[in-house]
């Protein structure tokens, strides 16, 4: 495991805060994409020995997380002409604070877990948990569907960080997991965006309240 891993994980944690504080949808998308690219390179660093499997995973992750999905989302953003997250459920400062508390709790929690010796000192598990919590926070506090998709991607990134720890233990699990989750996430969210936009002429998910039982 390279010395660079922990600094990169710190960058991911910082990006979490950036995402929580970002009011513009553009920034949210770019932030989650940046996390994706860093994750791709993390695979390279965590996995010793460079084989075709590592190369493939890195390429796919960087392409999918860093290029394809952001491009699609940015296009959706242009078409739906909603630039800013106007009124989040909780203000940006509050969500930043919540994110900080969550990250702290995750570090405490990770310490209470029984981990393999090589992961005990590393930031992998806390970062993963903190990123998942950040994704959840974005999902719960944002109203715009696109901001929620970004939140979902952050959540996925968090799960992916956890996958880094399992990369060698469970063959192919990580790859299958990534691809399936991403596919499902983008597919479902794509359909939701499309339908909400068509039916309600707006991307504000709170207007869906009429659909409750």
């Amino acid at each position: 495991m390279s010395l660079l891993v922990d600094p990169l994980l710190v960058v991911i944690l910082l990006l979490n805060f950036f995402l929580l504080g970002a009011s513009r949808l553009n920034a949210a998308i770019t932030g989650s994409a940046a996390q994706g690219v860093i994750l791709g390179f993390l695979v390279l660093l965590v996995h010793e020995g460079f084989g075709w499997r590592t190369a493939l995973v890195v390429t796919v992750v960087v392409l999918v997380k860093g290029v394809t999905i952001p491009t699609l989302l940015l296009r959706a953003l242009r078409e739906t002409s909603s630039r800013r997250e106007v009124e989040p459920v909780i203000g940006y400062i509050t969500s930043l604070l919540l994110g900080a508390i969550g990250t702290g709790l995750c570090i405490v929690f990770a310490r209470s877990l029984t981990l393999m010796p090589q992961h005990q000192g590393s930031l992998i598990v806390p970062t993963s948990l903190a990123t998942v919590v950040t994704g959840f926070l974005m999902l719960t506090t944002r109203r715009k569907a696109i901001a929620q998709v970004a939140g979902y991607l952050v959540l996925e990134n968090g799960i992916f960080v956890m996958g880094l720890a399992l990369f060698e233990a469970v063959p192919y699990l990580v790859e299958i997991g990534i691809l399936l989750d991403l596919f499902a996430g983008i597919f479902v969210m794509g359909i939701i965006i499309h339908h909400i936009n068509r039916e309600f002429a707006s991307l504000d998910t709170t207007r869906l309240t009429a659909l409750r039982e």
């Binding site: 405490v108 929690f109 959840f136 999902l139 944002r142 109203r143 709170t206 869906l208 409750r212």
Partner: protein, 662 residues
């Protein structure tokens, strides 16, 4: 076990390929048909080979699931239930191919593909050798059958029935989860072998209660059967046939499996006998007055499950009191009735489906005169009715004969009080038999004989041969079982030896003795068949075919009309008004005739299930009211639901860091 692999792969292909081929529905349906039939027949070969005495196996699956390794296996008991599963599976596949032809093509494709998945999930239930595999297959079975049942989801009644079924099924699974956790939890080993050991020492009343609730919901045991009439009436007919014939038996399989694990318990035996006879009486009493033909058959399923459970209870009582003959007879009756009920109720439901398909109605008041118009279907329903009413010379008689034999053996060999009880239960069984004869006389007489009561049934025509052929096959199976009961009983030997436990050798000798009775029985049945054949031939040769042009039951009236016949309600009225307790009667608006020259009047009756009306509905309504102030949780905002998930995750993490870990 190459057959098993072939059968499972064919069924899997029959599920996936049609769904992929959905753009060409014709081919998709053909693939589902071919894969379903060939997969079922391959599996049937395996099951029959195992029943003939081949050794079963237990093998770990090549992957692990939660709570350790997963394994499957097959033994005589699994093979015993696989036989009706594959027989009815193949026949219902063929029937469904014809039945769904008039449905929209998308529904027909889904119906064909999911039916194969349903068969596959039941194979999983029967082959599972640890709790995790079992529960996965069990849930898959519930969900798939729900999807098939609600194929006609355009109708509100179907959606309601599906909802009730889904809730009942999941409440049952909660009990099963509790059961497996009780058995496997303390040692954290969920293999069947380990759990069987745990069951022998565990808290028996608790285990029995969970078993009876968990499996009893599927089996349609007496207080838990309420989903069954709704579901069987609402489902497409081949699905009703399959559910009634096989799916309900999965509950019986579970109970049998648990009986094999538990030590013999006296009170459990009495409880099963009580539940059995009560279910039989209640089921047949309710079956008698239903207006909906399929609902009447569904209540008769409750009755027949009662008879099966009665047999199981007698076997248990026999084991406790060391009466090997009693336990052998009771178990033989129960096992034979499982197969018999699958064939005869399959026959009846498929016949009812044929009528529904042709006339568009399953309401008895709108049918009539169908025997002339649909001779094959009519003959099948007549045969099924004779069989399920337990009348000689068909197969239902054979298994009920065993039940009587077991009860009378019990009456002679058990102690004074127990003996008296056994004879009293035999009296109850006789009442069930009489009511069953009346029920099926009513259904077949009203639907098939007389004159049509509606335009649609006057224009009825015989169904396609896709639908008639399975009827003919099932009818022949009924005949075969009734003519060769000894051969069928011999197939049960390994099941009975496995089930009656350590007394295997002791139980085996009386089985031979029972065979003496069976041989006599089959000779009598043979004689009846021969007499019937001779009488029929003689009548045919002697009288020949006399051309008649009188309408049925014209009775010398000058201008008889179809409205002068008995209606289904009037036929049942004597029984419902005089014999049934008030709580079980249909709620009727009485006809008030006030004056000597009566004006037009109306009569209406509502046939709700008394248990649903009297207990379940008030119960659930009250609890729903009590929980109504929790409805603010249901915000309808996506963010709120996501927040609930986040809160649950954070709470779980906090719990672990505070109390768990090191």
């Amino acid at each position: 076990m190459i057959e098993l692999a072939v059968s499972v792969s064919l069924l899997l292909a029959g599920t996936l390929v049609p769904l992929l081929l959905w753009t060409t529905p014709v081919w998709a349906r053909r693939v589902a048909l071919i894969c379903g039939v060939s997969g079922s027949l391959t599996g049937l070969a395996l099951a029959l080979r195992l029943l003939a005495g081949d050794e079963g196996f237990v093998a770990p699956l090549p992957f692990t699931l939660a709570f350790g390794s997963a394994s499957i296996g097959i033994d005589a008991l699994s093979a015993f239930f696989l036989v009706p599963l594959f027989v009815l599976g193949a026949l219902c596949t063929v029937y469904g191919y014809g039945y769904l032809q008039s449905h929209p093509s998308g529904q027909a494709v889904v119906g064909g593909a999911f039916f194969n998945l349903l068969i596959l999930s039941m194979v999983g239930v029967l082959l599972a050798r640890d709790a995790v595999v079992f529960l996965i297959a069990w849930e898959l079975m519930t969900v798939t059958s729900y999807a098939l049942m609600t194929l006609d989801h355009g109708e509100a009644e179907v959606r309601r029935a599906g909802f009730v079924y889904l809730i009942a099924g999941h409440l049952g699974v909660v009990a099963l989860l509790g059961l497996f956790l009780t058995l496997g939890g303390p040692t954290a080993s969920f293999g069947f072998a380990a759990m069987a050991k745990a069951a022998a020492q565990g808290p028996a009343p608790f285990i029995v209660a969970l078993t009876l609730v968990g499996f009893g919901v599927k089996a349609g045991l007496v207080p838990l059967y309420v989903w069954l009439p709704e579901a069987h009436a609402a489902a497409p007919s081949h699905i009703s046939a399959f559910m009634s014939g096989v799916l309900v038996k999965m509950g019986v399989y579970g109970i049998l499996r648990m009986l094999g694990w538990l030590p013999p318990l006296a009170w459990l035996g009495y409880l099963l006998v009580g539940l059995g006879i009560l279910g039989a009486l209640l089921g047949i009493a309710l079956a008698l007055y239903q207006r909906d033909m399929k609902r009447s058959f569904a209540y008769s399923t409750v009755e027949n499950v009662g008879l099966i459970v009665l047999g199981l209870g007698l076997a248990e009582v026999g084991q406790v009191h060391h009466q090997p003959l009693l336990s052998a007879l009771g178990l033989a009756a129960a096992l034979l009735h499982v197969w018999n009920h699958a064939t005869m109720k399959g026959l009846l439901f498929l016949g009812a489906g044929s009528i529904l398909h042709s006339t568009g109605s399953k309401d008895l008041e709108k049918l009539g005169g169908l025997l002339k118009r649909m001779p094959w279907t009519g003959a099948a329903i007549m045969g099924g009715a004779v069989a399920v009413a337990g009348l000689p010379p068909l197969n239902g008689f054979v298994s009920e004969f065993f039940l009587y034999d077991a009860l009378l053996t019990g009456g002679l060999s058990l102690g004074r009080f127990l003996g008296l009880l056994a004879v009293l239960v035999a009296g109850g069984l006789a009442l069930v038999g009489g009511l069953a004869a009346l029920t099926f006389l009513r259904v077949s007489g009203i639907a098939l004989l007389g004159e049509p009561r509606s335009e649609a049934s006057a224009k009825a025509h015989e169904s396609s041969s896709w639908m008639v052929a399975p009827l003919v096959v099932l009818m022949s199976v009924c005949l075969l079982i009734s003519v060769f009961p000894v051969a069928v009983l011999e197939m049960f030997e390994s099941v009975m030896r496995g089930q009656l436990g350590a007394e295997a050798l002791a139980a085996f000798a009386p089985l031979v003795e029972a065979k003496g009775a069976v041989t006599m029985l089959s000779r009598c049945l043979g004689a009846v068949w021969l007499a019937l054949l001779v009488a029929g031939l003689g009548t045919w040769l002697w009288i020949g075919r006399v051309p008649t042009s009188v309408i049925t039951w014209s009775c010398g009236y000058l201008k008889p009309t179809a409205r002068m016949q008995y209606t289904a309600s009037s036929f049942a009225e004597l029984f419902t008004e005089l014999l049934l307790p008030k709580r079980l009667r249909p709620r009727a608006q009485p006809v008030l005739v006030k004056w000597s020259f009566p004006a037009p009047t109306r009569y209406s009756a509502r046939h709700e299930d008394p248990l649903t009306r009297g207990f379940y509905e008030p119960f659930f309504v009250r609890w729903a009211d009590r929980f109504s102030h929790l409805r603010w949780l249901q915000q309808g905002v996506l963010n709120a639901y996501l927040f609930y998930i986040l809160a649950a995750v954070v709470l779980a993490m906090a719990w672990v860091s505070l109390f768990g870990g090191h």
